[in-house]
Symmetry: C2
Subunit: 176 residues, 2 copies
């Protein structure tokens, strides 16, 4: 009985807040493949996409053969946007207090996998495309993570080198 | 009867290819808000995110009050990533031949809303945040489009100014 209770109401850290999620979902997703990485536990994986790129581990995106034709032209892209499903993340936290930050932040101001729709977005460098397998650098997820989408990265629309995240700069300045 | 048939098997242009989608979906999405834009028909809207930014129309992201606390800190971001659901798009095309391109391309090499999971990703400039409403520049979608996620844009991870899309450069060179 106690176990059941803790399953339905998992632990919340001080400073965090949860909500009741809607009673039903509004749309459905197909898993279109899997991402193969060397990491089976969170502590082994890069902390974020920047660290993943710096570490440089090559990971493999395995696309379901059903979608093979949809990959035509992908091999001409230097970088891709991957959307994937963080299937182990809870969805009900609206304020989160990650251990390495000093105070709670709103979920939509964070890149944490914990969010109402746990869709991660990573910009990856394409190393090699062969059949339904893509070798990429830049993902930070666990082995077997379900893939949702692959998009070409257009610098003209997607690259904003001077974009800033105020709360993050302030936090880093306080650390220095 | 004819109408029903055309509903279940919509038109495909020469050079396009469709597939049978899986019999069931694997995960569910919550619509967390709506995007309000001046456009009710596709032909009025900007052709893509770059054109939307150039036109500069301010659009409003309306977040469901249920998620209000999740917005704390968003106001400190200069740019945001929006994920939204292209609810009018078919999902079964793997090769597409948009009128303005010379040949068919794989869906994953295009930013078309037509894809197995019709999730659009746009980088937008945040103009103003007030309560559960965000004023932004850079979306190209129709009025009322369901919102899936808001993320902070980190230039360190998300900006790749020298990224290239080979097929697109070739196409533009041929036009010149």
């Amino acid at each position: 009985m106690t176990e059941k209770l803790s399953e339905s109401a998992p632990e919340i850290r001080p400073g965090e807040a949860s909500i009741a999620l809607p009673s039903h979902t509004d749309a459905g997703l197909y898993f279109i493949g899997r991402i193969r990485t060397p990491w089976t536990e969170r502590r082994q994986a890069p902390k974020n996409a920047r660290e993943a790129r710096e570490r440089g581990d090559i990971c493999t995106v395995e696309v379901d053969p059903r979608y093979e034709k949809a990959l035509a032209g992908v091999e001409t892209c230097s970088h891709l946007i991957l959307l994937y499903w963080m299937d182990r993340a809870r969805r009900d936290l609206v304020v989160q207090a990650p251990a390495h930050y000093k105070e709670g932040r709103g979920t939509f101001a964070l890149r944490s996998p914990v969010r109402p729709n746990p869709i991660a977005m990573s910009v990856v460098k394409l190393v090699k495309a062969e059949g339904t397998k893509l070798q990429v650098v830049g993902v930070d997820c666990l082995d077997g993570t379900p893939l949702l989408d692959i998009k070409p990265y257009f610098a003209s629309a997607d690259a904003i080198p001077d974009a800033t995240v105020g709360w993050h700069q302030k936090e880093r300045a306080a650390d220095a």
